[in-house]
Symmetry: C2
Amino acid sequence: MLRVGIAGLGTVGGGLIGLLRGTLAERLGDRLVIDAVSARNRGRSRGVDISAYRWFDDPCELAADPSIDVLVELIGGSDGPARRAVTIALTRGARVVTANKALLAEHGAELAALVDAHGGALAFEAAVGGGVPVIKVLRESLAANRTTSISGILNGTCNYILSTMEAQGREFADVLAEAQRLGYAEADPSFDVDGMDAGHKIALLAAIAFGNVPSVAALETHGIRDVSLLDIRLAAKLGYRIKLIATAERSPQGVRTRVAPALVPFAHPLAGIGGALNAVVISASPVGVITLTGAGAGAGPTASAVASDLIDIVEGDVRLPFGVSADRLGQPVAAGGAGDEERAFLRLLVDDRPGVIAAVSNALAKHGVSIDALIQDPSAAVGAVPIVLTTHRRDVRAIDAAVADIGVLDAVTAPPLVMRIEDIPRTVT
Amino acid sequence: MLRVGIAGLGTVGGGLIGLLRGTLAERLGDRLVIDAVSARNRGRSRGVDISAYRWFDDPCELAADPSIDVLVELIGGSDGPARRAVTIALTRGARVVTANKALLAEHGAELAALVDAHGGALAFEAAVGGGVPVIKVLRESLAANRTTSISGILNGTCNYILSTMEAQGREFADVLAEAQRLGYAEADPSFDVDGMDAGHKIALLAAIAFGNVPSVAALETHGIRDVSLLDIRLAAKLGYRIKLIATAERSPQGVRTRVAPALVPFAHPLAGIGGALNAVVISASPVGVITLTGAGAGAGPTASAVASDLIDIVEGDVRLPFGVSADRLGQPVAAGGAGDEERAFLRLLVDDRPGVIAAVSNALAKHGVSIDALIQDPSAAVGAVPIVLTTHRRDVRAIDAAVADIGVLDAVTAPPLVMRIEDIPRTVT
């Protein structure tokens, strides 16, 4: 019999208790039982009866209790009680299931080393993609593959905001305020809309797929605050939809991880992912391109993922957190190294005067960046004339240098917005 | 050390040997080694050197060899040597990995009983969806869920034909002939185009998701031979794309499994699956809707799936073939029971004379079937006037009865074509 202690009793914890006592009760029998729980407020109404479980005010005491075989950590936060409780449990060789992406992205290598040293386990299917089983697919189903790249929509809040801006023709600030009123976005939305939440998730996927240390330091993150309705409309004219895309890919320099708004062609598997859905596209050899889609958050999907980790433990299926032992994990590289090429979308606001396009073209040509398509759209009444253009493939540093030159032109009235254009993934062999 | 014997050395077998000696060699070390192989023709050139392995002319002798711990069966066919070899291996408690959907769909319960009796294992990730890890996701990732329905595009040949008909404006027979010339379709294409291949696959998914005996007898199969370019074009006018859809769903009578061409709304996750891709949409509670997409066939994707089963065995992760012991598997129901409701698309070819639409409407009304949309399209020059209509939800038997009445009307010049309209899957809770 495995005794479970649950630290953190929010909606996910409540959902998990419901599953273990409901759908899973017969299947698990007495192989796995809830023994103890911990939360900040014992008296809070949760919709589930927790009176049969031992209560701990302090999650660290729960984690230290030698009769707890499996700690389920649902507290959240990269440090503080979550980190302390998980560290305590792993140090005594207990098994830990967590949904805490921030903790793992910041301290994953350190925690994996504790698993290696003390023989416990660390499972975190719920940390990325909610109910979308991307961790298990990467770690187990694609175990025979060499991954080339992963790209995904991993933050439901941003995807909801961008989808709603497009569908309802509204600006970012307006949609964000409504999402906050409706509870879809946090009172402080920066973690979501500036890209760090998706960044934590792609750092974890990269660690598993490429066998490297999960690293926030190596992440490049750009949020969606600067994406305007005008950008969405002009991108659509060129055949693209703007999404917040998290990517991890091999480059000549190593593994590059990054989160940024990007243009995806309408035929790209990520273009049709609407609302608060999550999706991940994995390119690997010899399997080709695999796409997984589903609900990226919410009590039900997250509890489903936590429960699948618990069932794996019951079935004796315990894998190393990042596929290899912690001392064999490689180091990712910071983004933007030489040799990384991409196509770019560039949006400028310019004064309507002769020679502007010539000046912009010259700045691009100077850095060897050639133009694929260009739209000058005087119909958009924003006080200046918008110009959008797409480039052919070129070294990222050359594109950045050209954009810097363009940004200081007299006729350019606002900082240029530059976004990467995602290619349709092709089977790699 | 686990000793593997591979029976069947086609492109998948060759790809598997390449993976085990290449990408996986370091990871597996001497935990898993290829010991012996068997195929029909020892001398055939395969692009891989098999001289280091023991050779068996007879796969049954390979399966019976006590030093073989894991039999990989890549022979194919529901009976004959594949069935005999797998039965021999399981009867002596060996582990079996197979890509053989026909064998499992026809004899899965019998083989699962051998696993229960003798303590071996039977894994078959490659049998459904090629490289798409739908078996593991259903059995492990969604283990805490109650599945409501599964719908998928599981036959790449049919999807290629339908996609090409639409994209190039060509008829079925023409595209099929070309696919045969290019090697995308078999010389005898009936197994694919009449729906049995997809049927075997959905029978396996249903068995895992719903805990029932995989059953070909309970399957309802309709192929794509009767789908014309006209149908594709008229469906598109109404907002739908025609796909060969395999479904398994709970109904009041039990689990219903069926393969048939169906209309999917353009916004449905299966509508955008083009070419030879496979995709599966799983609706389950509490996870919601999960969609998996990837290459459904080919040496690389299939070898990737077989290798993932082997890695699971090396890692000690062995699950029951259909999630529960064979004696606890339920019985699926034959399709079309009372109470199953659906929306239908109906295409008629009629003489252009007064009163035809009235007669059709009356036949529908008599059975309580109400019309949602109707197009009469005289522009399609096929010698008769096509009428297409969609219905509101109604009991399948009432729709079938109305179609039978319509089919015998004087003005109706060809057998009516009726197809189900798939709903956009919504999260179930």
